[in-house]
Symmetry: C2
Subunit: 102 residues, 2 copies
């Protein structure tokens, strides 16, 4: 699943969508609004995110609200954690960043 996760994260539009969803559920049109691209284009991005397991979608009348599903992000982070030894000096910084967020 790492393939799909990293591929999904490689696109700035999709990362922005995830950032928006971190604030809470949103509909397709709400997600599409900030972008200078057609709504079907955003729908495609959502399909990529859904296939990667990064979002789930509900049903509310005509709307298909999207929710963040962060589990693949955890897996990706775990993979990256295997390399933390290689940035030891800067790891201290990341460590305090994480501590600060708790």
């Amino acid at each position: 699943m790492l393939d799909a996760t990293f591929a999904a994260l490689a696109d700035p539009t999709r990362r922005a969508i995830l950032a928006r969803l971190a604030q809470g559920e949103a509909t397709v049109s709400e997600l599409a609004a900030p972008f200078a691209m057609s709504q079907p284009a955003v729908s495609k991005h959502l399909k990529v995110l859904e296939k990667a397991g990064l979002i789930t979608r509900g049903r509310d009348a005509q709307r298909r609200p999207c929710r963040l599903a962060a589990e693949p992000l955890r897996e990706a982070t775990e993979w990256l954690a295997g390399y933390r030894d290689y940035w030891e000096e800067s790891f201290q910084r990341l460590d305090s960043l994480l501590r600060g967020m708790e």
Copy 2:
């Protein structure tokens, strides 16, 4: 830079190359050996990794030894860290939900 980093990590061959390089410097042919693909194909993967800043290359006679350069991995991890409390929170929510059901 996140675009290039995540795109580079989306390929299993490239992740395997990084895993190998985490053990130490290696030449192109050493890196290519385990894979059922031509050497030029591996060279292309190395170019992708180099452009993403994930490896650097030296010179040793005809050889171009590759080294891991983990800084982009740190950046990627930092981006992901922004979601860490999100998933921890949702696990906690799930956890209390489950507790409430007992």
